[in-house]
């Protein structure tokens, strides 16, 4: 057994047995307080730190939890361990109601909304005698767990027993949160925080995950209230005033919002202060001032909070220690064999070689801690793919990265390509080296099956007609360009296809299915990938994690599987990572894969965004001005990339572009929009000759044959 392991076990035993090793009762009481604080801070870490939703109402949820517990015990005789899950569900539900507001407002407006919720709870709910008890206090008798005659071995009148219960709950909450964070759910949370538009375009149901975050957070806060009630046995509404909510948020911020360890540290710190000020008579009554002062200091001097401070100190200690260790090693040189004990916890069989190269020797950075041990269990060559099984009725279209068999087998030229590519490992082809477009389409457009049909779509914003009766089509394996002057309605059309705005008339058909009424994330699940004019990556995440978010649609495991870390959740996780590594080596992003997105060169960001869309394996990509902001070299590279993903992956592409040179060089077919209507359509050669198009771009009068010049002009 390694010494580190022994120390850890000894520490854990000491923490569990703390109340029995002769500490005064006040320490136990404050330790319980620390546990309750930690639970509340964790609930805020999830909601505010991970999902980016500020809550100034956490005290209200704790209060609802505590009073519901009292009510359950007094009126319904539901004893402690049974009422905990009930309370969690009740407060989670209450929080989800508040979450409905969060679907519409965000940032400071959401802060005010939660503030109003807290105000409402305090002034209305917590003044109702049926809930908070007659005489303004809710009290429960000290009791043993279970009904008389059943399980009675826990005496809840004893703070030390409650201490162990609280400790166990905190540990369970920490584990659950940690598992959640590294899962599909956690990534969806981060995606919602980073960019909701990008999240929904990757198939993430933003509504669902926001409500889920509120429910989880509220449920945790309610459980903290439940334990507070069990611990104190009498609570009053004054304990859950609005100012208490503010204190709880401060707690999470001092912990470094987003850090689970920091949340626990902050809970221990504030409860410790409580104990200190109780002990030292001279300090009596200054707790508020000092606590708030501490909050200000942490905010101003250590914006990362305790969660950020801890690792920094740890690094420093480790550096010191490594000097000592080197010294010791020099002393004992030769006596012991060298070699690092830093084992790579991911078995080689699970990690494809290319990916290991791609990730350098730092292979374990992308395998999360709690998953490691479980990985060992299934390490022995368990590399089974989890086939995607959609629970929805919508058929998901997806390209097959391995065999490229989505290409039309009838088309002779395509067959050639398949044969050639199958012979020479197709995915090893470096797209940057491709000179010519090796792809040719069936000559007749009608022979290709339709991917997208926009039928007479009009979009109005109030009185403004942004697009008027636009019809266009994209067929399998085509690259279709959509061009037009500023304000022509290109992005509006795009958003109507993606589902971000609702057409007032007309239909959008995707993969031969009427998708007009489908929400954005469902269209993404059907196989529509997209990139944005203003790049919508998640700036706080690495390139790898950005791509990992896009595996969302292929992962059909649920929240409970993530929390419990089931084998199925694990194998989906492995599958997701494999998928991402494939795309990384395919696009050639190995050099930047571990870098944070913020600060990468613009051309790379474009490629990452396209790679992210490819990870969803969407057979249909929509690119909104992919060349904007790129220089000529980068634009040429982008054109090569588009050819490559079309020819080698069989992806169909619709792109909006300002760069006419680029559009005419990559597109098979072009639509020209002007003033919200289709001005012209045809092959690049036809478009370049079209006088109406030339006029629209150069601003000349066209004459009577132009059918749309009298139409309304969107600004």
């Amino acid at each position: 057994m390694r010494p580190r392991f022994v120390v850890a076990i000894a520490a854990a035993v000491a923490v569990i047995l703390l109340p029995w090793i002769g500490v005064p009762l006040s320490v136990v009481v404050n330790a319980n307080l620390a546990g309750e604080y930690a639970l509340i801070a964790i609930s805020l870490v999830i909601l505010t730190g991970w999902v980016g939703q500020i809550s100034l109402a956490q005290g209200a949820f704790v209060g609802i939890g505590a009073f519901t517990t009292g009510l359950l015990i007094r009126s319904a005789h539901v004893p402690f361990p049974l009422n905990l899950p009930i309370v969690g569900v009740v407060t989670g539900g209450a929080a989800a109601v508040l979450g409905i507001v969060a679907l519409r407002v965000r940032g400071l407006y959401l802060a005010v909304a939660t503030l109003i919720f807290a105000y409402m709870t305090e002034t209305f709910l917590f003044t109702q005698a049926w809930l908070v008890g007659e005489g303004g206090a809710s009290a429960i008798p000290a009791a043993r767990i279970g009904r008389p005659g059943t399980v009675t071995f826990f005496d809840l009148g004893d703070s030390r027993i409650v201490y162990v219960i609280i400790l166990a709950t905190v540990v369970a909450a920490l584990l659950a949160a940690q598992h959640l964070r590294r899962s599909k759910t956690g990534r969806a949370f981060f995606a919602v925080r980073g960019s909701e538009v990008a999240a929904v375009s990757l198939g993430i149901d933003v509504t669902r995950y926001k409500l889920l975050a509120f429910a989880i957070s509220g449920g945790l806060a309610g459980i903290a209230g439940n334990l507070t009630m069990i611990d104190l046995r009498v609570v009053t509404p004054a304990s859950f005033q609005f100012t208490v909510s503010l204190f709880y948020l401060s707690l999470a911020v001092v912990g470094g919002i987003g850090s689970l360890g920091g949340a626990v540290a902050a809970g221990v710190l504030f409860a410790g202060l409580n104990e200190l000020f109780f002990r030292v008579a001279a300090l009596n009554g200054y707790l508020d001032v000092v606590g708030v002062g501490l909050l200000l200091v942490v905010l101003l001097a250590y914006p990362g909070g305790l969660g950020g401070l801890g690792p920094a100190l740890w690094q420093r200690a480790k550096r010191r220690w490594s000097v000592l260790a080197r010294f010791a090693r020099a002393l004992f040189a030769g006596r012991r064999g060298g070699g690092t004990s830093d084992d790579h916890l991911v078995p080689a069989s699970v990690q494809p070689e290319a990916a290991q190269q791609a990730r350098g020797d730092d292979g374990k950075t992308f395998v999360p801690g709690p998953i490691r041990s479980a990985l060992k269990r299934i390490s022995e060559g368990v590399e089974r793919a989890t086939p995607f099984r959609s629970r929805r009725t919508i058929v998901r279209r997806s390209i097959d990265m391995r065999r490229l068999d989505v290409l039309e087998p009838e088309a002779p030229s395509v067959e050639e390509i398949i044969a050639r590519d199958a012979a020479s490992a197709p995915l090893r082809r470096d797209w940057r080296q491709i000179g010519e477009n090796p792809f040719s389409l069936p000559p007749d457009r009608e022979e290709r099956s339709p991917i997208l049909e926009v039928e007479h779509v009009s979009v109005r914003f109030g009185g403004l007609i942004a697009t008027n009766d636009v019809s266009l089509g994209v067929r399998e394996h085509e690259i279709v360009g959509l061009i037009g002057p500023n304000g022509a309605g290109k992005t509006t059309t795009f958003n109507a296809i993606a589902g971000l705005n609702q057409p007032s008339a007309g239909h959008v058909r995707l993969f031969d299915e009427d998708a007009t009424s489908y929400p954005v994330h469902v269209r993404a699940m059907m196989g529509v990938g997209r990139t944005f004019q203003l790049i919508q990556l998640f700036p706080q995440l690495t390139v790898f994690d950005n791509l990992l978010v896009a595996t969302h649609v292929h992962n059909d495991t649920g929240v409970f599987a993530h929390v419990l870390l089931t084998e199925r959740a694990l194998s989906s996780e492995l599958d997701a990572r494999r998928r991402v590594r494939q795309i990384v080596s395919l696009i050639g992003l190995e050099d930047v894969v571990d870098r944070r997105v913020a600060g990468l060169p613009f051309g790379i960001l474009r490629q990452v965004e396209i790679a992210r869309a490819l990870v969803t394996e969407a057979p249909f990509l929509m690119l909104d001005e992919p060349a904007s902001g790129l220089d000529n070299t980068e634009t040429d590279e982008l054109a090569k990339l588009l050819h490559f993903i079309r020819a080698d992956l069989g992806v169909t592409i619709l792109l909006i572009e300002h760069d006419v040179r680029m559009v005419t060089s990559v597109s098979d077919y072009i639509y020209v929009l002007d003033r919200g209507s289709v001005l012209a359509q045809g092959t690049p050669a036809e478009i370049q000759r079209n006088p109406a198009v030339i006029a629209a771009y150069l601003g000349e009068a066209v004459g009577v044959e132009d059918p749309v010049s009298s139409g309304p002009r969107p600004s």
Binding site: L108, I116, S195, E196, V253, L295
Partner: protein, 297 residues
């Protein structure tokens, strides 16, 4: 008929609240526009100067004490901006909001240390006179509060409409960088916004304390409905905040007249909260976006 009369009486009785919420709501809007922060310390920034006026008035008289309290309030506003909010600008809106929470906690804790936590009778700018409205009493202090608020609100709307300073403040709030390129110092307009908001909060605090009483928590928390008022107005427009204040004051005044249900504890506040949540649910777009190039979030 008696019902209508009842409503009219309650509307009149609610006017002091409308005045107070208008003054606080204006300050909240000024600060939000200047610093894009929700100033949760606003209540404490009203409460603390009210105590200052209370402490000074025996020596200087109420009028001078009020003026000194307003100066203190302005300085306090500037100090909060310079000392806390500006330093947290680089971090996140959450950190900035929590920074104002810290200020709230600090001011309340200090006030409670110095003056205790029992309610004190505050000096009033207005003579101790009471009007009888229906069966209830309306103090001259309350009427004065409303009158002052009307004058102040008109003054500020004129400031923003008709003066160069007002234009500069609006421009800097809209787009700091563009305003700076036009020769406006956005730091200066931000500071002015906070000073004005602080002085206004102080004035409102002194008047409200005069019409009710002085207590470190209660007075600080009495600002909460003003947040609702500012929110109903959209947090961006001073006229919106005034309309919001009127709505909030009237809701709190009228709901208790609507039968037995309305008189139950907390029901007026519940009605108010529902109004606010509905207003918010009808606003805003569905999905937020981010621009990676500017750092996001």
């Amino acid at each position: 008929m008696s019902f209508l009369r009842n409503v009219v009486v309650n509307v009149i009785l609610a006017t002091p609240l409308v005045g107070a919420y208008a003054m606080f709501g204006l300050g909240i809007v000024f600060i939000h526009r200047a610093s894009k922060v929700l100033n949760l310390a606003h209540g404490a920034m009203a409460m603390f100067p009210a105590y200052i006026a209370y402490a000074l008035s025996p020596h200087t008289g109420v009028l001078v004490a009020t003026i000194l309290a307003m100066i203190f309030g302005g300085a306090l506003g500037l100090a909060v901006e310079r000392g806390v909010v500006r330093r947290l600008r680089a971090t996140s809106p959450t950190a900035q909001t929590v920074g104002t929470v810290a200020v709230l906690g600090l001011l309340v804790a200090i006030a409670a240390r110095i003056w205790g936590t029992t309610a004190l009778e505050a000096p009033s700018l207005f003579p101790d006179k009471v009007f009888h409205v229906g069966n209830a009493n309306l103090s001259l202090a309350g009427v004065g509060l409303f009158g002052v608020a009307v004058v102040v609100a008109a003054g500020f709307i004129a400031l923003f409409r008709f003066t160069d300073l007002g234009l500069a403040m609006r421009a800097a709030a809209d787009n700091r960088r563009a305003a700076a390129l036009m020769g406006i110092d956005p730091e200066r307009t931000t500071a002015i916004s906070w000073i004005l908001a602080g002085a206004l909060a102080a004035f409102g605090g002194v008047l409200l304390a005069g019409a009710s009483s002085l207590h470190p928590y209660t007075l600080s928390l009495s600002v909460l409905p003003a947040f609702v008022a500012a929110l109903i107005g959209g947090l961006e427009s001073e006229r919106g905040a005034l309309v919001g204040a009127a709505l909030v004051g009237l809701t709190l005044g009228i709901v208790p007249t609507l039968g037995d249900l309305g008189r139950k504890t907390g029901v007026p506040q519940l009605a108010l909260a529902l109004v606010a949540l509905i207003v918010m649910a009808r606003r805003g777009q569905r999905f937020s976006a981010v621009d990676v190039r500017t750092g996001g979030l």
